[in-house]
C-alpha cells in the first residue's frame, strides 16, 4: 500500500495504488481488506483505458461549455474523477447492474452507452428517462443516497433469482459520494446488504467535498472503515489510479457474484471543478489545494506510463485527442438539435394505468392552449 494524503491535512491511511502519479507501475498490493490486488492488461487494453479517460474528460468539458452557453440548465462535472469512474466502469461485466448518482458520466460511457443519454436531463428536456434494465444502468438519482437502497433491493432480487454463486453470477454496483455516507438511507443499505448477504459493491467516490463541505463534516475516520462495523470488508483505493480502481472493483464484484456478499470501496479522489456549474468553489477552498491534486492527475499518470513503457507513441496520443474532439463535437451538435418536449407530455406516464383526474386535466389544458390559437399568445 502507498501513503495517500489524508482528509484535513492529517496523513491518511494507506490505499491501494498500482500506478503512481509519476506513471510508475506497482506490481501488487494488499488492501485494507487483506486482498492482494494487481492487474494484467495487454497493451491494447492500456491504450483503451487511456482513450476512455481522455474521451470522458473531453465530453465532460464540452457539457460544461454547453452549460455556460445556456444550452444546458446545469452540469455536474466529473473532472478529476475519471480514473475512479473508468476503472470501476470497465470492471463491470456485461451482466452487472450499476446504480449511479448524477455524476457517473464516465461509468455510463464505459458501459457502452451513448453519452447523449443523460444530457436531456441536464438540458431540462426530461428527467433522464431510460430503461435501467436495457442498459444495466439505472437512471440518475438526485436525492442523495436513495439509490443505494434501490441497488441493494435489486441485488436481493439477483439472489432470489438464483443468479449468484459462479462466474456468470450477477453483481450490482452502487455509486455514491462522501457526503451521501451521512444519509440514513446509505447506512440502512449497508444493513440490508449485510443481513441478506446481497451481491453488491458500494462504490464511494470520496472527492473530498459535498458541495462546500469538506469530508471532515461527514466522518472523523476514513470512510472505507465504515463497512467493518456492518460486517463486510471495506477497502480504500487511489481513485486517481485507473488500474487500482479497476482491480479493486473487479475483485469486489467477483466476490459479490460468487455469493460472498457486499464490499465497500472508498475511491479516494478529488473533485477538480465546481460541484455543479452553479457552484463557486473559490468561496470554500484554496487554490493551493486544487494545485496539489493536479499533481495527481488521473490521466497524466496513464499517459506517462504508456509513454515510458512505449506502449504507444505520440501518434496515438494525437489520435485519441482527435477522437475526443470529434466525439465532443458530435455531442454538442446533438444537444443543440434536441427538440423541446411537447407540453402535453406533462400529463404522460403519471400512472401505468392512467387516472381520470389526469385525463381531465390534460383535456382542460389542451382546450386552454387551443383557446390561444390564432391569438398572439
Amino acid at each position: 500500500m502507498t501513503k495517500g494524503r489524508g482528509a484535513g491535512g492529517e496523513s491518511a491511511p494507506e490505499f491501494v495504488q498500482l500506478l503512481t502519479p509519476d506513471g510508475e507501475r506497482i506490481d501488487k498490493v494488499t488492501g485494507a481488506d487483506g486482498v492482494e490486488y494487481t492487474v494484467d492488461f495487454t497493451d491494447d487494453e492500456y491504450r483503451g483505458l487511456y482513450r476512455d479517460l481522455v474521451v470522458v474528460r473531453k465530453l465532460d468539458a464540452e457539457a460544461t461549455a454547453l452549460q455556460r452557453q445556456g444550452e444546458l440548465g446545469i452540469w455536474a462535472s466529473l473532472l478529476g474523477q475519471e480514473a475512479a469512474q473508468v476503472g470501476s466502469g470497465r470492471a463491470l461485466r456485461q451482466q452487472d447492474m450499476a446504480f449511479p448518482t448524477y455524476r457517473e458520466h464516465g461509468v455510463l460511457y464505459c458501459r457502452g452507452i451513448d453519452p447523449i443519454m443523460p444530457l436531456s436531463l441536464f438540458r431540462g428536456v426530461d428527467h433522464g428517462a431510460w430503461d435501467p434494465n436495457q442498459f444495466r444502468f439505472n437512471m440518475y438519482t438526485i436525492v442523495i443516497g436513495a439509490q443505494t437502497l434501490h441497488a441493494t433491493g435489486y441485488a436481493m432480487g439477483i439472489t432470489k433469482d438464483g443468479k449468484v454463486g459462479n462466474d456468470d453470477g450477477e453483481a450490482v454496483i452502487a455509486y455514491f459520494g462522501d457526503g451521501a455516507s451521512a444519509q440514513g438511507d446509505v447506512n440502512e443499505a449497508f444493513i440490508w446488504a449485510s443481513v441478506f448477504n446481497a451481491p453488491i459493491v458500494f462504490f464511494c467516490q470520496n472527492n473530498q467535498y459535498a458541495i462546500s463541505e469538506p469530508i471532515e463534516k461527514q466522518t472523523r475516520v476514513p470512510l472505507y472503515q465504515r463497512a467493518s462495523g456492518f460486517g463486510f470488508p471495506g477497502v480504500r483505493v487511489d481513485g486517481n489510479d485507473v488500474l487500482a480502481s479497476y482491480a479493486v472493483t473487479r475483485a469486489a464484484l467477483d466476490h459479490a457474484r460468487h455469493g460472498q456478499g457486499p464490499t465497500l470501496i472508498e475511491a479516494y479522489t478529488y473533485r477538480m471543478g465546481a460541484h455543479t456549474t452553479t457552484d463557486d468553489p473559490t468561496r470554500y477552498r484554496m487554490a493551493g489545494e486544487v494545485e496539489s491534486w493536479q499533481a495527481r492527475d488521473p490521466i497524466a499518470r496513464v499517459r506517462a506510463f504508456i509513454a515510458k513503457q512505449q506502449i504507444a507513441g505520440d501518434d496515438f496520443f494525437t489520435e485519441v485527442d482527435e477522437l475526443a474532439r470529434r466525439e465532443s463535437l458530435a455531442l454538442r451538435e446533438r444537444v443543440l438539435a434536441m427538440p423541446d418536449p411537447d407540453p402535453l407530455t406533462i400529463f404522460e406516464h403519471v400512472y401505468p394505468h392512467g387516472s381520470p383526474l389526469i385525463d381531465s386535466q390534460r383535456q382542460g389544458f389542451a382546450e386552454y392552449m387551443d383557446s390561444f390559437e390564432g391569438s398572439s399568445h
Binding site: W130, D131, P132, H150, Y154, G157, G184, E188, H349, L357
Partner: protein, 328 residues
C-alpha cells in the same frame, strides 16, 4: 362460495391468493414472518411460501420501501407492510420521491407495482403514533394511488386487485374494523369484480349524501340507520378510492339530495374532506342547499387513548352535521 370472514382474515386470504397467482409477488415488512404481523394479516404466509417470499426485514421503514423499489426494478412485485400508520414517515422520502415518481421519471419504462399496506386510524385504545390517518399526505402526492377498504368482501378483492395493478398503491386498512365480519365470495373470479378505483353506494338514500371511507363507513351507516328511524334517508357512499377520487356517483347523488356531509378521522385542515367539498361545490354549485360539511378529527395531534372517543367522529357528530345542513 360465500364465507363469513373478518376483514383481517379476508386480507390474509387475499394476500395468499396474490402470492399464489404470481411468483413475483413478495411480502416484506417488520414481523410479517413467523409472527404473521402484529395484526396477523400475514399469518401463515411465510410458513407456506417460504422466507424468500415473505420477508422479515430489518427495522427501518426507509429500507423497506427503498429495497422494494430495487426489487421492483428487478421485476418483483413487493407488498410492503408498514406496522402502524405513524411509522410510515421514515419511508416518506422513498415513497414521495422514488415510488411515486419512478414511472414518470422513466417515461413509463420503469413500473413500481408496489403495494404499501398501512393499518390506519384510531379507536383501538393505543399509545401515540398508532392511530394516525395519513391519507392526505399520500393523496396529495401525484404518482401514488390510495385506496381503503371497509368490508371483508372489499378487503379480499381490493388487496388482490392492488397487488395485480402496476400502479404503486397505498392500501389503507381500517385497523379498528379488522375483526368485523361479513360474507366474502372467496371463489369469485377477480376479472368480474367491482373495479378497484370506483366508489360505491353503500346505502341508497334521498335526503343527504354522506361520504366516508375505511373505518368511517360503518359509522356513516350506523348514522344512516339512526336517521332513518327519524325519517331522514341518508345516502352513504363508500369512496373506496381516495386517489384518484371517483366522484361521478357522488355528483349524481348530491344533485339529487342537495346536501352533503363528509366524514373522516384525519384532521380537517387540508384533508380529503376539503378536496371533496371543493370538487362537489364546483360540480354541483346550483344543486347545493347548504355547503358541504365536514365531520373529522380535530386539528390537533391524535390525543391520548382515553380521549379518542371524543376526538373521533361518531354517529352523533354525523347526525349533528346532517341536522346543520338542514338548518342552513
Amino acid at each position: 362460495m360465500a364465507e363469513k370472514l373478518t376483514i383481517g382474515k379476508a386480507l390474509n386470504l387475499g394476500l395468499r391468493r396474490a402470492l399464489e397467482a404470481d411468483p413475483k409477488v413478495l411480502i416484506m415488512g417488520e414481523d410479517v414472518g413467523k409472527l404473521g404481523g402484529v395484526f396477523r394479516i400475514t399469518d401463515g404466509l411465510q410458513k407456506d411460501f417460504g422466507e424468500e417470499r415473505v420477508i422479515d426485514t430489518p427495522l427501518a421503514e426507509s429500507g423497506i420501501i427503498g429495497t422494494a423499489v430495487g426489487l421492483a426494478i428487478r421485476g418483483y412485485r413487493p407488498v410492503c407492510e408498514i406496522q402502524f400508520d405513524g411509522f410510515v414517515y421514515p419511508a416518506y422520502d422513498q415513497i414521495v420521491s422514488q415510488v411515486a415518481k419512478m414511472h414518470y421519471r422513466s417515461q413509463g419504462r420503469v413500473k413500481m407495482p408496489m403495494v404499501i399496506r398501512i393499518p390506519f386510524g384510531g379507536g383501538i385504545g393505543a399509545v401515540e403514533h398508532h392511530s394516525e390517518s395519513p391519507e392526505a399526505y399520500f393523496a396529495h402526492t401525484a404518482g401514488l394511488k390510495v385506496v381503503s377498504c371497509a368490508t371483508p368482501e372489499d378487503a379480499y378483492v381490493m388487496i388482490q386487485q392492488a397487488v395485480a395493478s402496476d400502479d404503486p398503491i397505498v392500501f389503507l386498512e381500517p385497523k379498528r374494523r379488522y375483526y368485523e365480519k361479513g360474507d366474502v365470495e372467496v371463489d369469485a373470479d377477480l376479472a368480474g369484480a367491482y373495479p378497484l378505483h370506483a366508489s360505491r353506494v353503500a346505502r341508497p338514500g334521498t335526503d343527504v349524501t354522506v361520504l366516508a371511507y375505511g373505518p368511517m363507513v360503518r359509522t356513516a351507516l350506523d348514522a344512516a340507520n339512526a336517521a332513518s328511524a327519524d325519517g331522514r334517508e341518508l345516502e352513504v357512499i363508500d369512496l373506496r378510492t381516495l386517489s384518484p377520487l371517483d366522484l361521478d356517483p357522488v355528483f349524481e347523488s348530491v344533485r339529487r339530495t342537495g346536501r352533503c356531509v363528509v366524514v373522516h378521522e384525519a384532521p380537517s385542515n387540508v384533508g380529503l374532506g376539503a378536496e371533496l367539498a371543493a370538487r362537489i361545490t364546483e360540480q354541483c354549485f346550483y344543486s347545493l342547499e347548504a355547503p358541504v360539511l365536514r365531520v373529522t378529527g380535530y386539528d390537533t395531534p391524535y390525543p391520548a387513548a382515553r380521549l379518542e372517543e371524543e376526538f373521533l367522529p361518531d354517529l352523533d357528530r354525523v347526525l349533528d352535521a346532517v341536522d346543520r345542513t338542514f338548518g342552513w
